[in-house]
């Protein structure tokens, strides 16, 4: 059993240090950038050398470790690692025609830098891994956690992800047609369907163990697949539901990764119509933007909803829920190729207040 305990999410919205989703922060120039906190826990000398993606990860991780025993492992997800540092180093290579270079950006840009820095700052010698499988990196980290907790039921782990927008990867993805050509605000993202979406970034870190006591939510199951066929997505959904819910049982809420890109609609539509209005649907990409590990924001948002029983304004797609939300199904797809289902449920009433 895998349970989420403390979680921290650094996002384009008001998610850390205080969480207040009552007002939507708007995107600018098709970007939803995080407002970085002060990161008081990171030693200043180290912080100066960190790129944004590493800084966001370490900044979200350290407060979780401060209040607990050392984690028995650190599991990270990031599609690109320090893209900004990577291109900075590339700039140097070409500018100085492969001359004498300083290695700082090179070392910072390796995608295991975030997990490595957390281990280094906290002197943690345990299991340490970085999943980088583009739109499924975060889901793979969750699968890793499920396995780790089966292997070591007494253990506690730090799990999370980080991805940054850099001017460079934004440009590459823009040229590849993944972002809107016309300016669009996140407030209109779903009204104005065309090709492309808006870019986002963020980090999410969670303390996980197999103890229900004191947990915020339970990770029931994760399933991923690679396909371009909506029918195959539906088949995967059916299999996932039959393996994880009793016959006739439904989740109380579908959290859909819709991002306003009309090319992705066939996938989201087929999943949504499977439930035929039987359950309410929410969306989240207008809050965090699109990025490889964006499903982590949905995961964080689901944990908030399950723990507090409150749905933030403006996330409902259709009818408001009539019954309490005890179980959420997240469906996300990345560029119509990588699909994931994540099922998260509330802790039994009473248990969360112990």
């Amino acid at each position: 059993m895998a349970y989420f305990h403390q979680t921290i999410c650094i996002s384009p919205q008001n998610s850390f240090p205080e969480t207040d989703l009552s007002e939507l922060r708007e995107s600018k120039n098709n970007l939803l950038l995080v407002t970085e906190p002060a990161y008081t826990g990171i030693p200043p000398g180290i912080k100066r050398r960190m790129g944004k993606s590493v800084r966001m990860a370490v900044g979200a991780a350290l407060p979780l470790i401060e209040n607990s025993h050392p984690p028995d492992g650190i599991v990270m997800a990031t599609a690109n690692g320090g893209m900004e540092d990577c291109i900075k180093f590339l700039n140097q290579i070409l500018e100085y025609n492969e001359g004498l270079l300083t290695p700082a950006s090179f070392v910072q840009s390796t995608s295991n830098a975030a997990a490595a820095q957390i281990a280094l700052v906290t002197k943690n010698h345990q299991y340490n891994i970085t999943h980088v499988h583009r739109g499924l990196a975060f889901e793979n980290a969750l699968v890793d956690l499920i396995m780790l907790l089966e292997e070591n039921p007494e253990a506690g782990y730090l799990m999370g992800c980080t991805d940054e927008i850099s001017a460079y990867n934004y440009n590459i993805d823009r040229l590849d047609g993944w972002f809107r050509i016309e300016p669009v605000s996140n407030t209109d993202l779903f009204q104005s369907k065309s090709k492309g979406t808006i870019a986002g970034e963020g980090s999410f870190m969670a303390w996980m163990n197999n103890q229900e006591k004191g947990a915020k939510a339970k990770l029931d199951a994760v399933k991923t697949t690679h396909t371009t066929s909506p029918e195959h997505v539906l088949k995967t959904l059916n299999l996932f539901l039959s393996q994880n819910l009793s016959y006739g049982e439904l989740p109380d809420l579908l959290m859909s990764g819709e991002n306003g890109d009309e090319r992705m609609s066939p996938y989201y539509d087929i999943v949504e119509s499977h439930f035929a209005d039987a359950i309410p649907v929410t969306r989240f990409k207008h809050l965090c933007g699109e990025y490889c590990t964006a499903s982590s924001f949905a995961c964080w948002l689901s944990i908030q909803i399950l723990e507090n029983g409150i749905l933030p304004n403006g996330i409902m797609k259709n009818v408001a829920p009539v019954k309490p939300i005890r179980r959420i199904l997240i469906y996300n797809n990345f560029r119509g190729e990588q699909h994931s289902f994540i099922l998260i449920s509330a802790i039994k009433p009473g248990d969360s207040s112990i």
Binding site: I87, T110, Y127, T130, V132, H133, N171, T225, H226
Partner: protein, 389 residues
């Protein structure tokens, strides 16, 4: 098993080179860099075009990178060798775990162009990331199960192997295709050069006068299945244990006593249920850098009462970074299958402080358990143990 490296296009060709002390380290022929002729590397002896045509036919695939082509080449050999049926390959319980540290960034100039161009991107826009390499394999073979890509620097593909084994153990897959791929890149050549750890001579692992590593390229893939599912297929070795630990000392060098290496080797022994004395041979990480070889030696001296025979096949293949763990896993398995050990080349005198001498000549040996080490930047240390079936 499947393998392509500077010393051959197949597992058999690699074994031939290892047995006959034919190193693949030499001058750069294909890769365009200012260091061609100055820094020796272990380059795969085929142009990217040649590899592309071999896999995708005359017209080639316009968006495929050299790294992905290595991965496809090695995965094809491994899948053919494994005897997996078409149905098994595309079944929902077949997983794929890849690893790389440079991914599609081998195309340094194209990446730079696309990062800044206003319009007219190259065909490689979705081929730069790490996942692109694994996704090329996923697409080519139509893999439907769990797919992951791991990047823990130089221990990436050792972690891909242990992660794949865990997917089987926990029922997330019935069989997994695991491995790693890497190609030479301005990014890594200049990065390692800026850290002053590239040697201007062929590397000399564990030698007192060693002067750094040589970068290499290639890929290796392996197919893992449970013992009971393997009937009638080629069966080479048993992955009996593994360890993943962090050195937590410095972003780009090991702690003086080799804490991370020591802990990962110890963990691997524990998970295999073996004692240090059971290990007959170690395929060391042995990059040829001052820091690695001394700290790895210290870690071996801490763990083993008597350090078993060991050597570094990086003296043949160069350091292939994200592919190294998988390539050396294949070599370790060859040690077991053929009961033979491969030498460390260019060794002359031991490091005075540790006094360890690697295997220097090809030899037939009785081997039951082989340990393979992979240590990376960020303190990421992993150890695999393979045992005779």
């Amino acid at each position: 098993m499947g393998l392509i490296s500077a010393i051959g296009d197949s597992v058999n060709e690699n074994r031939y080179s290892l047995r006959n002390e034919r190193s693949g380290i030499g001058h750069i022929r294909f890769y365009q860099t200012a260091y061609a002729g100055k820094l020796p590397t272990a380059e795969v002896k085929h142009s990217t075009d040649e590899l592309n045509k071999k896999i995708f036919g005359e017209n080639g695939n316009p968006a495929i990178t050299r790294t992905s082509l290595f991965a496809l080449h090695a995965a094809k050999e491994a899948i053919l060798d494994s005897g997996l049926t078409k149905e098994e390959i595309s079944s929902a319980d077949t997983a794929l775990v890849g690893a790389t540290t440079v991914g599609g960034m081998c195309l340094t100039d194209e990446l730079y162009h696309d990062a800044l161009a206003k319009d007219h991107g190259t065909p490689f826009l979705s081929s730069y990331d790490y996942a692109s390499v694994t996704m090329a394999v996923q697409e080519y073979f139509g893999i439907q199960g769990e797919v992951s890509t791991i990047n823990t620097a130089c221990s990436s593909s050792a972690n891909a192997i242990l992660y794949g084994a865990r997917l089987i153990r926990h029922g997330f897959a019935k069989r997994v295709i695991v491995g790693g791929a890497e190609s030479l890149a301005k990014f890594t050549i200049n990065g390692f050069n800026a850290l002053n750890i590239l040697s201007s001579k062929p590397c000399a692992p564990f030698d007192r006068n060693r002067s750094g590593l040589n970068l290499g390229e290639g890929a290796a893939f392996l197919v893992l299945e449970k013992e009971e599912d393997i009937r009638g297929k080629n069966k080479y070795a048993f992955l009996s244990g593994f360890g993943n630990k962090n050195d937590a000392y410095h972003p780009s060098s090991n702690s003086p006593e080799g804490d991370g290496p020591y802990l990962s080797m110890k963990e691997a022994l524990k998970s295999a249920g073996l004692n240090a004395g059971d290990i007959n041979y170690i395929n060391a990480h042995g990059t040829g850098t001052e820091n690695n070889d001394e700290t790895e030696s210290r870690a071996m001296l801490r763990l083993f009462e008597k350090v078993p025979p060991f050597s570094s096949t990086k003296s043949f293949t160069g350091h292939t970074l994200g592919a190294a763990g998988a390539m050396e896993a294949v070599y370790s398995i060859l040690n077991l299958v053929h009961q033979e050990v491969y030498p460390s080349l260019s060794f002359q005198d031991p490091i005075p402080e540790t006094g360890l001498i690697p295997v220097r000549f090809f030899a037939q040996e009785k081997i039951l358990h082989v340990m393979s080490n992979s240590f990376g930047f960020g303190g990421n240390c992993s150890t695999l143990i393979f045992s005779k079936t």
